[in-house]
Protein backbone atom coordinates (compact mmCIF):
# COMPACT_ATOMS: atom_id res chain seq x y z
CA UNK A 1 0.00 0.00 0.00
CA UNK A 2 2.90 2.29 0.80
CA UNK A 3 4.05 1.97 -2.81
CA UNK A 4 0.61 2.76 -4.20
CA UNK A 5 0.32 5.85 -1.99
CA UNK A 6 3.76 7.09 -3.03
CA UNK A 7 2.99 6.37 -6.68
CA UNK A 8 -0.34 8.24 -6.58
CA UNK A 9 1.09 11.27 -4.79
CA UNK A 10 3.87 11.57 -7.39
CA UNK A 11 1.60 11.31 -10.44
CA UNK A 12 1.29 14.32 -12.73
CA UNK A 13 -2.37 14.75 -11.77
CA UNK A 14 -1.76 14.71 -8.02
CA UNK A 15 1.13 17.15 -8.05
CA UNK A 16 -0.58 19.54 -10.49
CA UNK A 17 -3.79 19.56 -8.44
CA UNK A 18 -1.73 20.32 -5.31
CA UNK A 19 0.04 23.15 -7.14
CA UNK A 20 -3.27 24.89 -7.80
CA UNK A 21 -3.58 26.89 -4.57
CA UNK A 22 -7.35 27.31 -4.88
CA UNK A 23 -8.07 23.62 -5.50
CA UNK A 24 -8.08 22.36 -1.90
CA UNK A 25 -10.16 25.23 -0.38
CA UNK A 26 -12.61 25.05 -3.29
CA UNK A 27 -13.09 21.29 -2.87
CA UNK A 28 -13.54 21.77 0.90
CA UNK A 29 -16.20 24.44 0.40
CA UNK A 30 -18.07 22.26 -2.11
CA UNK A 31 -17.76 19.29 0.29
CA UNK A 32 -19.55 21.30 3.02
CA UNK A 33 -22.29 22.49 0.64
CA UNK A 34 -22.70 18.90 -0.61
CA UNK A 35 -23.04 17.54 2.92
CA UNK A 36 -25.78 20.07 3.67
CA UNK A 37 -27.78 18.96 0.62
CA UNK A 38 -27.23 15.29 1.42
CA UNK A 39 -28.13 15.52 5.13
CA UNK A 40 -31.05 17.84 4.38
CA UNK A 41 -32.63 15.58 1.76
CA UNK A 42 -31.79 12.23 3.33
CA UNK A 43 -32.47 13.48 6.88
CA UNK A 44 -36.04 14.66 6.30
CA UNK A 45 -36.85 11.39 4.51
CA UNK A 46 -35.22 9.30 7.28
CA UNK A 47 -37.10 11.17 10.03
CA UNK A 48 -40.40 10.54 8.21
CA UNK A 49 -39.48 6.84 7.80
CA UNK A 50 -38.90 6.77 11.55
CA UNK A 51 -42.42 8.08 12.07
CA UNK A 52 -41.62 11.72 12.87
CA UNK A 53 -43.11 14.71 10.99
CA UNK A 54 -46.12 12.68 9.90
CA UNK A 55 -47.77 15.64 8.20
CA UNK A 56 -45.32 15.07 5.33
CA UNK A 57 -46.50 12.33 2.91
CA UNK A 58 -43.57 9.93 2.33
CA UNK A 59 -44.10 9.27 -1.38
CA UNK A 60 -44.09 13.01 -2.25
CA UNK A 61 -40.94 13.59 -0.15
CA UNK A 62 -39.03 11.56 -2.74
CA UNK A 63 -39.00 14.74 -4.87
CA UNK A 64 -36.06 15.92 -2.70
CA UNK A 65 -34.00 12.79 -3.39
CA UNK A 66 -32.30 14.16 -6.56
CA UNK A 67 -30.89 17.01 -4.41
CA UNK A 68 -29.58 14.58 -1.80
CA UNK A 69 -28.04 12.47 -4.58
CA UNK A 70 -26.51 15.61 -6.14
CA UNK A 71 -25.00 16.43 -2.70
CA UNK A 72 -23.55 12.91 -2.54
CA UNK A 73 -22.16 13.20 -6.09
CA UNK A 74 -20.48 16.54 -5.22
CA UNK A 75 -18.94 14.94 -2.13
CA UNK A 76 -17.83 11.79 -3.93
CA UNK A 77 -16.10 13.91 -6.60
CA UNK A 78 -14.44 16.31 -4.15
CA UNK A 79 -13.62 13.37 -1.85
CA UNK A 80 -11.78 11.58 -4.68
CA UNK A 81 -9.96 14.86 -5.40
CA UNK A 82 -8.80 15.08 -1.73
CA UNK A 83 -7.54 11.50 -1.93
CA UNK A 84 -5.67 12.09 -5.20
CA UNK A 85 -4.01 15.22 -3.76
CA UNK A 86 -3.07 13.79 -0.33
CA UNK A 87 -3.40 9.97 -0.42
CA UNK A 88 -1.24 9.40 2.67
CA UNK A 89 -3.57 11.48 4.86
CA UNK A 90 -6.39 9.00 4.12
CA UNK A 91 -4.87 5.61 3.26
CA UNK A 92 -3.19 5.38 6.69
CA UNK A 93 -6.12 6.72 8.73
CA UNK A 94 -8.43 4.28 10.54
CA UNK A 95 -11.00 7.08 10.71
CA UNK A 96 -11.09 7.27 6.90
CA UNK A 97 -11.84 3.53 6.65
CA UNK A 98 -14.59 3.98 9.26
CA UNK A 99 -16.00 6.77 7.09
CA UNK A 100 -15.99 4.49 4.01
CA UNK A 101 -17.64 1.75 6.07
CA UNK A 102 -20.53 4.04 7.08
CA UNK A 103 -20.95 5.28 3.48
CA UNK A 104 -21.28 1.63 2.38
CA UNK A 105 -23.76 0.90 5.21
CA UNK A 106 -25.87 3.93 4.22
CA UNK A 107 -25.72 2.92 0.54
CA UNK A 108 -26.65 -0.75 1.10
CA UNK A 109 -29.41 0.32 3.49
CA UNK A 110 -30.87 2.66 0.85
CA UNK A 111 -30.63 -0.08 -1.80
CA UNK A 112 -32.31 -2.59 0.50
CA UNK A 113 -35.11 -0.10 1.07
CA UNK A 114 -35.57 0.65 -2.62
CA UNK A 115 -35.59 -2.99 -3.70
CA UNK A 116 -37.69 -4.57 -0.95
CA UNK A 117 -39.72 -2.04 1.04
CA UNK A 118 -39.86 1.00 -1.22
CA UNK A 119 -43.08 0.07 -3.02
CA UNK A 120 -44.96 0.00 0.31
CA UNK A 121 -44.24 3.73 0.63
CA UNK A 122 -46.87 4.48 -1.99
CA UNK A 123 -49.62 2.91 0.11
CA UNK A 124 -48.84 5.11 3.15
CA UNK A 125 -50.78 8.35 3.34
CA UNK A 126 -49.98 11.56 5.19
CA UNK A 127 -50.43 11.39 8.98
CA UNK A 128 -49.94 7.61 8.91
CA UNK A 129 -47.40 5.90 11.17
CA UNK A 130 -44.69 3.76 9.56
CA UNK A 131 -44.07 0.02 10.10
CA UNK A 132 -41.10 -1.06 12.26
CA UNK A 133 -39.09 -2.04 9.14
CA UNK A 134 -39.26 1.59 7.90
CA UNK A 135 -38.25 2.93 11.31
CA UNK A 136 -35.15 0.71 11.35
CA UNK A 137 -34.15 1.67 7.80
CA UNK A 138 -34.61 5.39 8.62
CA UNK A 139 -32.63 5.16 11.87
CA UNK A 140 -29.76 3.22 10.23
CA UNK A 141 -29.59 5.78 7.42
CA UNK A 142 -29.68 8.83 9.70
CA UNK A 143 -27.08 7.36 12.07
CA UNK A 144 -24.80 6.34 9.18
CA UNK A 145 -24.81 9.76 7.50
CA UNK A 146 -24.00 11.55 10.76
CA UNK A 147 -21.29 8.94 11.42
CA UNK A 148 -19.87 9.74 7.96
CA UNK A 149 -19.88 13.45 8.86
CA UNK A 150 -18.28 12.73 12.26
CA UNK A 151 -15.49 10.58 10.79
CA UNK A 152 -14.84 13.11 8.05
CA UNK A 153 -14.54 16.08 10.38
CA UNK A 154 -12.54 14.11 12.99
CA UNK A 155 -10.22 12.59 10.37
CA UNK A 156 -7.29 14.96 11.04
CA UNK A 157 -7.53 14.36 14.81
CA UNK A 158 -8.63 10.75 15.33
CA UNK A 159 -6.91 7.46 14.53
CA UNK A 160 -3.98 8.96 12.63
CA UNK A 161 -1.50 6.94 14.64
CA UNK A 162 0.18 10.08 15.98
Amino acid sequence: MNDAVVWLSTTWLSSHMRDLKWMWPTCETLHFIGLSLLIGGAGVFDLRLMGFMRRLPIAALKAFMPYAIAGFAINLTTGVAFFVMMPAQYAFSITWYAKLFFIIVAGLNAMLFETTLGSRVLTLGADEDTPMSFKIVGAVSLFSWFAVLYCGRMLPYLGTGN
Binding site: T29, S36, P57, R153, Y157
Partner: protein, 156 residues
Protein backbone atom coordinates in the same frame (compact mmCIF):
# COMPACT_ATOMS: atom_id res chain seq x y z
CA UNK B 1 -9.00 44.79 21.54
CA UNK B 2 -7.91 44.35 25.16
CA UNK B 3 -11.13 42.43 25.74
CA UNK B 4 -10.38 39.94 22.94
CA UNK B 5 -6.84 39.46 24.22
CA UNK B 6 -8.25 38.78 27.71
CA UNK B 7 -10.86 36.38 26.27
CA UNK B 8 -8.20 34.44 24.39
CA UNK B 9 -6.24 33.98 27.63
CA UNK B 10 -9.10 32.73 29.81
CA UNK B 11 -8.71 29.19 31.10
CA UNK B 12 -11.46 27.86 28.83
CA UNK B 13 -10.00 29.43 25.66
CA UNK B 14 -6.51 28.18 26.51
CA UNK B 15 -7.87 24.69 27.14
CA UNK B 16 -9.62 24.64 23.74
CA UNK B 17 -6.38 25.48 21.91
CA UNK B 18 -3.80 23.66 23.97
CA UNK B 19 -5.50 20.49 25.20
CA UNK B 20 -4.64 17.24 23.45
CA UNK B 21 -8.10 15.97 24.40
CA UNK B 22 -10.37 14.92 21.57
CA UNK B 23 -13.13 16.76 23.52
CA UNK B 24 -11.42 20.12 23.12
CA UNK B 25 -10.91 21.76 19.71
CA UNK B 26 -11.74 18.69 17.50
CA UNK B 27 -15.13 18.01 19.12
CA UNK B 28 -16.17 21.67 19.17
CA UNK B 29 -15.26 21.89 15.47
CA UNK B 30 -17.26 18.73 14.77
CA UNK B 31 -20.27 20.12 16.69
CA UNK B 32 -20.01 23.22 14.47
CA UNK B 33 -20.23 20.95 11.38
CA UNK B 34 -23.19 18.98 12.79
CA UNK B 35 -24.96 22.29 13.48
CA UNK B 36 -24.18 23.43 9.93
CA UNK B 37 -25.70 20.23 8.52
CA UNK B 38 -28.90 20.66 10.59
CA UNK B 39 -29.22 24.38 9.85
CA UNK B 40 -28.39 24.48 6.15
CA UNK B 41 -29.86 21.01 5.48
CA UNK B 42 -33.29 21.93 6.88
CA UNK B 43 -33.18 25.46 5.42
CA UNK B 44 -32.41 24.07 1.92
CA UNK B 45 -35.41 21.73 2.05
CA UNK B 46 -37.71 24.65 2.99
CA UNK B 47 -36.15 26.86 0.29
CA UNK B 48 -36.41 24.16 -2.38
CA UNK B 49 -40.10 23.62 -1.54
CA UNK B 50 -40.77 27.35 -1.92
CA UNK B 51 -38.99 27.21 -5.28
CA UNK B 52 -41.32 24.49 -6.55
CA UNK B 53 -39.85 21.11 -5.50
CA UNK B 54 -42.44 18.60 -4.17
CA UNK B 55 -45.48 20.71 -5.14
CA UNK B 56 -47.77 17.88 -3.97
CA UNK B 57 -46.98 18.75 -0.32
CA UNK B 58 -48.57 21.98 1.00
CA UNK B 59 -45.93 24.49 2.13
CA UNK B 60 -47.41 24.75 5.64
CA UNK B 61 -46.57 21.09 6.32
CA UNK B 62 -42.85 21.91 6.23
CA UNK B 63 -43.21 24.25 9.24
CA UNK B 64 -41.78 21.56 11.56
CA UNK B 65 -38.41 21.87 9.80
CA UNK B 66 -37.80 25.34 11.26
CA UNK B 67 -37.02 23.74 14.63
CA UNK B 68 -34.01 22.05 13.00
CA UNK B 69 -32.95 25.37 11.48
CA UNK B 70 -32.99 26.96 14.96
CA UNK B 71 -31.47 23.94 16.71
CA UNK B 72 -28.59 24.00 14.22
CA UNK B 73 -28.25 27.75 14.64
CA UNK B 74 -27.95 27.55 18.45
CA UNK B 75 -25.48 24.63 18.28
CA UNK B 76 -23.36 26.78 15.97
CA UNK B 77 -23.79 29.94 18.01
CA UNK B 78 -22.41 28.16 21.10
CA UNK B 79 -19.69 26.16 19.29
CA UNK B 80 -18.85 29.25 17.23
CA UNK B 81 -18.44 31.41 20.36
CA UNK B 82 -16.11 28.77 21.83
CA UNK B 83 -14.05 28.60 18.62
CA UNK B 84 -13.97 32.41 18.50
CA UNK B 85 -12.84 32.67 22.14
CA UNK B 86 -9.91 30.36 21.42
CA UNK B 87 -8.53 32.77 18.78
CA UNK B 88 -10.39 35.95 19.74
CA UNK B 89 -7.72 38.55 19.01
CA UNK B 90 -6.98 37.14 15.52
CA UNK B 91 -10.58 36.47 14.53
CA UNK B 92 -11.84 39.87 15.71
CA UNK B 93 -9.41 41.48 13.25
CA UNK B 94 -10.05 39.12 10.32
CA UNK B 95 -12.13 40.59 7.44
CA UNK B 96 -13.19 37.12 6.23
CA UNK B 97 -14.73 36.43 9.67
CA UNK B 98 -16.64 39.75 9.57
CA UNK B 99 -17.89 38.83 6.09
CA UNK B 100 -19.03 35.43 7.39
CA UNK B 101 -20.98 37.07 10.26
CA UNK B 102 -22.61 39.54 7.84
CA UNK B 103 -23.64 36.70 5.48
CA UNK B 104 -25.13 34.72 8.40
CA UNK B 105 -27.05 37.81 9.56
CA UNK B 106 -28.43 38.28 6.04
CA UNK B 107 -29.39 34.60 5.74
CA UNK B 108 -31.20 34.74 9.12
CA UNK B 109 -33.17 37.82 8.06
CA UNK B 110 -34.15 36.08 4.80
CA UNK B 111 -35.18 32.96 6.76
CA UNK B 112 -37.33 34.91 9.25
CA UNK B 113 -38.98 36.93 6.48
CA UNK B 114 -39.72 33.90 4.33
CA UNK B 115 -41.35 32.18 7.29
CA UNK B 116 -43.56 35.21 7.88
CA UNK B 117 -44.36 35.48 4.19
CA UNK B 118 -44.99 31.83 3.29
CA UNK B 119 -45.95 30.15 6.58
CA UNK B 120 -48.38 32.70 8.09
CA UNK B 121 -51.70 31.16 9.11
CA UNK B 122 -54.37 31.82 6.49
CA UNK B 123 -51.74 32.80 3.94
CA UNK B 124 -51.85 31.73 0.29
CA UNK B 125 -51.29 27.95 -0.25
CA UNK B 126 -48.57 28.59 -2.83
CA UNK B 127 -45.55 30.82 -2.11
CA UNK B 128 -45.69 34.42 -3.33
CA UNK B 129 -42.93 35.82 -5.60
CA UNK B 130 -41.69 37.60 -2.44
CA UNK B 131 -41.35 34.30 -0.59
CA UNK B 132 -39.54 32.79 -3.55
CA UNK B 133 -37.07 35.67 -3.63
CA UNK B 134 -36.36 35.13 0.09
CA UNK B 135 -35.81 31.42 -0.63
CA UNK B 136 -33.23 32.17 -3.36
CA UNK B 137 -31.57 34.75 -1.09
CA UNK B 138 -31.44 32.29 1.80
CA UNK B 139 -29.88 29.51 -0.34
CA UNK B 140 -27.29 31.90 -1.80
CA UNK B 141 -26.36 33.47 1.56
CA UNK B 142 -26.01 30.13 3.40
CA UNK B 143 -23.74 28.86 0.59
CA UNK B 144 -21.75 32.11 0.76
CA UNK B 145 -21.50 31.86 4.59
CA UNK B 146 -20.13 28.30 4.26
CA UNK B 147 -17.62 29.55 1.68
CA UNK B 148 -16.49 32.44 3.90
CA UNK B 149 -16.22 30.07 6.87
CA UNK B 150 -13.97 27.71 4.93
CA UNK B 151 -11.86 30.53 3.53
CA UNK B 152 -11.19 31.83 7.06
CA UNK B 153 -8.57 29.07 7.24
CA UNK B 154 -6.82 30.35 4.11
CA UNK B 155 -7.38 34.11 3.73
CA UNK B 156 -5.96 35.64 6.90
Amino acid sequence: MAFFAWLQHTGLAMWIVQSDSIWAYPSILTAHTVGLALLVGAASIIDLRLLGVAPAIPVAQFDGLFRFVWAGFYVNLVSGLLLFASEAADKAAQPMFMLKLALIAGALVATIRLRREAFAAGGPPEPSPHARRYAVTSLALWAAAITAGRLMAYVK
